[in-house]
Structures are given as structure tokens and as C-alpha cells.
């Protein structure tokens, strides 16, 4: 018997399932909203469209779309199995639970990354139409995409852990995204460093002050810690998710 490695099997199956899911279709539409806004600005005032992309689109993506995508994809990794009572199929096969969780996490991360990257690229093509030949413009896009992937990695890991820990994790996640992340990032001093968004925004290629209140309230952190902190936090959240998922007893039925 030639054995198939379980992690790629889980990843491939749930990536395919994710592509067909209603949730993904809804998020494709959501990801098109910034594109429509960029198109509108491009038509109304072509000179403003580059700035518009930087200032407003990034706020939409980094403060809304990226965390919301990560929230719904991340928290669904375990919650969907509990709601649909399908977890039993993945836990009565000779596979460690960590392989199941990590396979599903990677599938969710890739789906979210494709949605964000696709939307990003289309927005960029519209906004920077006149300067597509400039290497600097593409370099900026690369940094934006890298920062978005880092944010997705960290947020998705956090919401995966939350989903593994509690059944209705989406509510806690909404509070985190729209409460903690949205408010605490504007607190003075070191408090803002307790948000993921602070580190992500610190990586974005926008001169301080130029982006205005929506982009930066205070001075960004240096680039190296801004990469390392979300990476380390994401790895920690993922480790926690695995730990919880391997040890927690999930009761799929109310009746005995």
C-alpha cells in the first residue's frame, strides 16, 4: 500500500471545496468593491486615482477586507466541522488532528490570499494604468501584497485558534477586528503595538503623514520587527490552534 501524506490530501480536498463554497463567491463580490471604487475615481478624476488607491483602498483592504476574510475563513476551519457535525469523519481516520487542522488552514489561507491578491492586482492595474512601465510601481505592489499575505497569515492563525477554542468564535472575532484592532491602533505610546494592524501598516510604503489619519496616527515601527512580530504571532497562534484542536473534546450532539 502506497501511503498518501495526509496534510496535502486535506489541503487539496478543502481548497477545492472552498473554491465551490458560497462563502467564497460572496467574498469575491466583496473583493470587487474596491475595484469598482477605483474604476469610478479613475473615470471621474484620472489624476487622483493613484492617490486614491494608496490612501483609501489600502484602508479598505488592510483594515477591513483582509481581517474580515481571515476571520471568516479562519474561524470556519473548525467551526464549520462542528456546525455541520462533520468533524467525526476527520477524527476517525488514522491521521493526527494537527495534519487535519494545518491542511485546512493552508487551504483557507491560499483561498483568502488569492482573493486579496486578485482584487489588489486589478485595483492596481486600474489605478496605475499610466505608469505600468515603472518598476517602482510594481515594487510597491509587491510590498503591499507581501504585507497583505503577512496579515492574512497572522489573522487567519489567530481566528483558527479562536475557532478551535470556542464554538461561536465569529462574534469574538468581530469584536477583535472592529473593536480592538480598529481602536487600539490609534492609542498613543506602545499600546498600539498590541494590534496586528500596527505592524502591517508599518510595512506599507507610504511616507508618514502623507497617508493621513486613516493610514497612520503615529510613527511606524522599523521594517524588521514589523515583519518578525506578525510572523512570530502567527506561528504562536497556529501552535495554539493545533494544541487546542488536538486536546479538546468536541461534543457534536446535544443528546446523549
Amino acid at each position: 500500500m502506497k501511503s498518501a501524506s495526509p496534510l496535502p490530501v486535506v489541503f487539496a480536498a478543502f481548497f477545492r471545496a472552498g473554491l465551490r463554497a458560497k462563502r467564497t463567491r460572496v467574498f469575491i463580490l466583496l473583493a470587487l468593491v474596491p475595484l469598482l471604487l477605483t474604476l469610478l475615481v479613475r473615470v471621474v478624476d484620472p489624476k487622483e486615482s493613484g492617490d486614491f488607491f494608496t490612501k483609501v483602498m489600502l484602508s479598505l483592504y488592510f483594515q477591513l477586507l483582509v481581517p474580515v476574510l481571515a476571520l471568516f475563513f479562519g474561524s470556519s476551519i473548525v467551526n464549520d466541522e462542528l456546525d455541520g457535525k462533520t468533524l467525526v469523519y476527520l477524527t476517525t481516520v488514522p491521521v493526527r488532528r494537527r495534519a487535519v487542522l494545518l491542511g485546512k488552514y493552508l487551504a483557507a489561507l491560499l483561498l483568502a490570499a488569492l482573493l486579496v491578491a486578485g482584487g489588489f492586482l486589478l485595483c492596481f492595474l486600474v489605478a496605475a494604468f499610466g505608469r505600468l512601465g515603472e518598476a517602482a510601481a510594481w515594487g510597491e505592489l509587491g510590498v503591499f501584497l507581501g504585507a497583505a499575505l503577512l496579515a492574512l497569515f497572522c489573522y487567519s492563525a489567530l481566528f483558527t485558534a479562536l475557532g478551535a477554542f470556542m464554538k461561536k468564535s465569529i462574534l469574538a472575532g468581530i469584536f477583535f477586528v472592529f473593536g480592538w484592532e480598529s481602536v487600539v491602533q490609534y492609542f498613543p505610546g506602545v499600546t498600539q503595538k498590541f494590534t496586528v494592524i500596527h505592524w502591517i501598516k508599518s510595512l506599507l510604503p507610504i511616507p508618514p503623514g502623507e497617508g493621513g489619519f486613516l493610514i497612520f496616527q503615529l510613527q511606524p515601527s522599523p521594517p524588521l520587527p514589523s515583519v518578525l512580530v506578525p510572523l512570530a504571532a502567527g506561528a504562536l497562534f497556529l501552535w495554539l490552534a493545533v494544541l487546542i484542536f488536538e486536546r479538546k473534546e468536541y461534543i457534536l450532539s446535544d443528546n446523549a
Binding site: K2, A4, P6, K85, T92, V93, I251, A256
Partner: protein, 308 residues
């Protein structure tokens, strides 16, 4: 025959709700029927045996190994859960193929295993259809396919005949009996005595979380037989079937379903009743789609037995 499953002082409760209490049980090869009304603790016991729940007190071993946190054991164990749950967007074939691959089968072998399991439950033709388009009975059979695809040494089946049409009920019972004959261990739960009885004479009666009786079914058969039974039947022409049934002396009452699609029969002689029903079920025009014993009936049987 050596012990395959051993439960020692096994207890489990959910908050204030008792699941099972102080269960001591040894199961060897062959088929063991776990019989009890809904809420008796059958599913809790099987979920502990399938590593889905942790015991609060006591321990349970399968092939001498603890089950919780021991995924390697599922190379030898198959579990068919009671929930009507599935990845509805997937096709039946994709679902079983995924499980085959997670069982470690790759390439052509995974496909062969998938086809064999689906064929065993009559779903090979429907393998490409999305599970959400399956009927309840088909989904139940799909769950059974998920349990048998790796041909385990031990099968844990939680109400595997629930919602299955009469024809497939007989075929699945045959499949389970074949497993037992091959020397494998099968623990099958039901709240319908006749189902268990058709598969095995070795039963465990479970009631209010405790094992109430264990052993050969014939020892308690007389007691159960003397208790009045209700059998609900779904069919397109209930009045026609009722007319055929009342010809026998074993029917003490008949009630028709309000929707006109079934009837409930009361009988004091269940064996004779089922003997008469089976040939009628095969007759053209009757087309029985479902036979159930209302749960309170079995509850009443247990109360009756406890009273004795």
C-alpha cells in the same frame, strides 16, 4: 474468543446530564447489538469507543489500546455516526475518496477502495452527484460506506438502519452479518428490537446510561413479546395495507397518519406481525418506504422490563 473492546467503570456526563454510568463491558468477535431507547446512552458509549468523547471516569480500550488521542487505531476501526452529517457540496465519490486517502490509500488503490465501498451500499451509480442531492437513506448508506471502506477489524455502527428503505435495510443487515461471519467485531446500536434481532442474538440492553441486561436475546424475548408494540409504516396506500393486515389476529389497533401517507399498527404479537408484514411489503402497490417503532414504545418496553 479474545476481548476486542473492554470498558471498565466507564462513566460520562454532559454538565448535569448523564450520558452513561459505571459501564463494565467486554466485547469479543462477532456482532453485538446495543439496544435501548433514544437518550439511553448508546451513542455516548459508541462515541467513546470511537475516540470522539473522553470518558469522565473509567477507561475503554480497543485491541488493548486506549482510544482517545490514538488515531492509529482507526486503521483497524470503522465508525458510522448517527448524525445526518456530510460535506454536502462534495459528491459522494469525492467524500469517500477523501477518506480513503486519509486512510493511507493512494492512487488506483484509493479509487478501487472507494468504488468497492460505494458498490457495497448501492451508491456507485450516484458517486458523481453532490451529497446534498442524496436522500436521507442514501446519506445513511454513504456513512456506512465511510465506515467500511478500509475493511476494518472492528465496526462501530450507530443506528445504521435509520431512514433506510426496506430493501436496503435487508441488504445492510446482510452486509453486517457477513462482517460478523468473517470473525470481525461489530457493535451495532438501535432502538428497534427487530433490527438487532435480525442481525445477532448477542445483545446489550442499555437504559438510562446503565447496562440493564447482557447476553442472549432469547432469555428476555418472552418478556418483550408479551408487551404491546407499535409499528409505524409509511406507504402510499395505507388503507389497502391496513385491510391486508387486519385479516390476521395479531393486530389490536390501527391508526392512520393525518397526511394520508402511513399508518401505525398496535400488536401484542410482534413476531407474527412482522412475519405477515414482510410478504406484504414485497407486494406491488404497497411500496413501503419506512418502518419504524416509535421510540416511546421501546421506552415502555424497558419500563415494563424494569418493573418485572
Amino acid at each position: 474468543m479474545s476481548t476486542v473492546l473492554r470498558a471498565e467503570k466507564l462513566s460520562k456526563w454532559y454538565g448535569n446530564i448523564l450520558g452513561i454510568s459505571d459501564i463494565n463491558l467486554e466485547v469479543a468477535g462477532g456482532i453485538t447489538g446495543l439496544l435501548g431507547p433514544n437518550g439511553a446512552g448508546k451513542s455516548t458509549f459508541l462515541k467513546i469507543a470511537a475516540g470522539q468523547l473522553k470518558p469522565k471516569i473509567g477507561r475503554l480500550t480497543v485491541f488493548g489500546e486506549p482510544v482517545w488521542g490514538n488515531p492509529g487505531l482507526f486503521r483497524r476501526v470503522g465508525f458510522c455516526p448517527e448524525h445526518d452529517s456530510a460535506y454536502n457540496e462534495m459528491s459522494g465519490g469525492a467524500f469517500i475518496l477523501l477518506l480513503a486517502r486519509l486512510h493511507g490509500f493512494a492512487g488506483a488503490e484509493a479509487t478501487e477502495r472507494t468504488d468497492k465501498a460505494l458498490a457495497a451500499v448501492g451508491l456507485l451509480e450516484s458517486r458523481g452527484r453532490a451529497i446534498k442531492a442524496y436522500s436521507f437513506g442514501m446519506r445513511q448508506r454513504l456513512r456506512l460506506a465511510s465506515a467500511i471502506l478500509h475493511e476494518p477489524e472492528m465496526l462501530l455502527l450507530d443506528e445504521p438502519l435509520r431512514g433506510v428503505d426496506p430493501l436496503w435495510r435487508i441488504r445492510i443487515m446482510q452486509l453486517i452479518k457477513d462482517y460478523g461471519r468473517q470473525g470481525r467485531t461489530v457493535i451495532v446500536s438501535s432502538h428497534i428490537l427487530s433490527e438487532i434481532e435480525a442481525m445477532t442474538s448477542e445483545i446489550v440492553l442499555i437504559h438510562q446510561g446503565k447496562i440493564f441486561a447482557k447476553g442472549d436475546i432469547h432469555s428476555i424475548r418472552g418478556l418483550i413479546d408479551s408487551h404491546p408494540h407499535q409499528v409505524s409504516i409509511r406507504c402510499p396506500q395505507p388503507r389497502r395495507l391496513a385491510g391486508q393486515l387486519v385479516a390476521g389476529e395479531f393486530v389490536s389497533g390501527i391508526e392512520f397518519a393525518a397526511d394520508g401517507g402511513g399508518l401505525t399498527v398496535r400488536t401484542d404479537q410482534r413476531d407474527r406481525f412482522f412475519s405477515a408484514l414482510m410478504p406484504l411489503a414485497a407486494q406491488a402497490g404497497n411500496e413501503i418506504t419506512e418502518i419504524t417503532s416509535p421510540d416511546d414504545n421501546l421506552q415502555a418496553v424497558f419500563d415494563y422490563l424494569i418493573g418485572k
